[in-house]
Symmetry: C2
Subunit: 434 residues, 2 copies
Amino acid sequence: MAKTDIARRVYNHAWKLDPIVRSLLDTDFYKLLMLQMIWKLYPDVDVTFTLINRTTKVRLAEEIDEAELRAQLDHVRTLGISKKELIWLAGNTFYGRTQIFEPEFLAWLSTIRLPAYELSKRDGQYELTFRGRWTETTLWEIPALAIINELRSRAALKSLGYFSLDVVYARAKAKMWEKVERLKQLPGLRISDFGTRRRHSFLWQRWCVEALKEGIGEAFTGTSNVLLAMDSDLEAVGTNAHELPMVAAALAKTDSDLANAPYKVLQDWNTLYNGNLLIVLPDAFGTTAFLRNAPSWVADWTGFRPDSAPPIEGGEKIIAWWEKMGRDPSQKLLIFSDGLDVDAIIDTYRHFEGRVRMSFGWGTNLTNDFIGCAPHDIAGLKPISIVCKITEANGHPAVKLSDNPLKATGEPAEVQRYLKFFGSEDRVEHAVKV
Amino acid sequence: MAKTDIARRVYNHAWKLDPIVRSLLDTDFYKLLMLQMIWKLYPDVDVTFTLINRTTKVRLAEEIDEAELRAQLDHVRTLGISKKELIWLAGNTFYGRTQIFEPEFLAWLSTIRLPAYELSKRDGQYELTFRGRWTETTLWEIPALAIINELRSRAALKSLGYFSLDVVYARAKAKMWEKVERLKQLPGLRISDFGTRRRHSFLWQRWCVEALKEGIGEAFTGTSNVLLAMDSDLEAVGTNAHELPMVAAALAKTDSDLANAPYKVLQDWNTLYNGNLLIVLPDAFGTTAFLRNAPSWVADWTGFRPDSAPPIEGGEKIIAWWEKMGRDPSQKLLIFSDGLDVDAIIDTYRHFEGRVRMSFGWGTNLTNDFIGCAPHDIAGLKPISIVCKITEANGHPAVKLSDNPLKATGEPAEVQRYLKFFGSEDRVEHAVKV
């Protein structure tokens, strides 16, 4: 006799919404670290976050249904941090430190809800913006991106029957496991999941995280996803992002303030965090400019995260700088996180082996690699390069230059002003895949 | 909130037995066709079926628990043909013919239960025999083999956790789908599932059958598994097996009877069946001997199933014989079924394309190919060459010579007698993989 759980079947077929984001902790850990700093030091700053689809040939507003998008975004606005989540944030050890989050911060965090969003369509793209206090809007970045990406996957898979879906996921699992087996060959590898924002889906990210946990064991140092870290007893990893120097620069009143903005946020950071959290993200306005003007204390920080130069080139530049500053690179840490695939990870690992401590933050190619998995080519399964960036702070336009001009964001005139100010040495275009 | 169907969970964890064979129709279709003939023409013959593990280095009695084996065999003895199954057998069309099974036969079939078995251990192997009326023991062959093979898979997978199992099946699915995509390239291919006896498991065979249905569509002409044919609305396929000439030969009282045995069973067959069911299985005592002595009416039959010579060599021999007999091979059918993998299927298809009608019966490599799928090498996942053969009929030893001496069965002295009688031309050893 066939045994069907009738309640479950009716529930599965009658639900109004299959939420993509079910917890405010389904976000990157560094958002919480940054949020505490913003809450402490920049509580009154207003910013605008804007969705930017760099893969313009993909017309998101035609692939994703607006009502579904609104329903998912609306759902996120109903979420608050749960009691269990608060207790975990308060009681867990992050980067070896207990009580990294202050009780007052957690008390405030327990009250927040995500603010309203503005959504419209233009030229086949969605215009999605989040305006308001930086302390609230910053939490929109990751869920907004995860929702767009998962709605896109769902739309792409809608035409497939049960059997084809089974083949798609079987192949994706087999493909992922081949990667695991290759990574297993690298002794002393340290790699973590940075794939929340561009993931195929939440459940798929969870599977990939389980695969790394099962497959490479100690080499898997954690996930940037706070919810997965909590649920799977993994380390929550991540430090800081471009939004910090971007806001500091946008708020700069004088040239001297602007020149100092990238270092000021590091000083801010250092008032709250230390040790392995002292990771420099140098490329907001170009790594070369950053290093040229950096105060010597920057060389005391634990490591750098080169995020938009090719990993070997970017890493060599930082190692050379450490050496120039009289520091021993073998005691330093480089975190690679820009569009990594297994080949890039292996090449970079082999290149720097023994010369510097390394860690890899594996993103889109970890959690959204379905190329060749569908029975026929489905364009919607190919990941796109989509970001959600600060475009304004207290009414001033915000800019990111990056080491790769194709990853720059901001109003063109303002970008030019920044380029004149910081210089454009060593900025080289590299195709942005993800 | 996690939603668990408590009843299902308790049931899943508390069941006494997960039956491998849940229906008497979970068998090869040709067993039923042969059974009707045996029931009609040989109702009083007693035979002995014996399990023969040709992969002697695999010590089955050490891999498979005896209590589990007994429990599975005992379970099969509780099964009878259900009302729904009888109605389907009576009402379905097989090979384009309605009512292929006589009402009296079905009435008798509705009453049968499988007879007792004898099981003991010797030198690390199981001695498993079925003695009694041919009409009853013949139905043991397929379930006995399926049970041994699935218990072996289960034992092999026992050490793996949930995640590893997930990877194993994902890879097996991905691997199977690669095969489907290769077979899709062959226009006019006709292929069917012959993989019941050696399958990894029932559920896996079902998945593979669904994969062929979904993936190659019309090229998939059916399954030998009656239960899967019924449940998936597929054609049930298969004709006759070596047990017919083997028993006829064992019962032969004179040299003339022995010489005529392979043709007598074809005449018997022809009293019940016609059309695409008129398929000659020529290799029981060597194909060369069979063709040399064959009456001319054998060339009127629809086709041949060369089952133990390499497919191209075996096919050429039969085509040459048809031509010698003045028949047009392009109107004839060759069914290839001996240890096929995709390479062999493609090579054979390309070789004979346009010269003869072809059909492929895909067995072990379809339903039990897990090589390279486990996280580490698991010997128990490698299929073995195991058969369940008639070793005696009415007290006389039964023999199969085959075109491949490694596939011969029977007492050595009796095999020698048959070899002297039928000759041993063109019998060449080929490694028996499955």
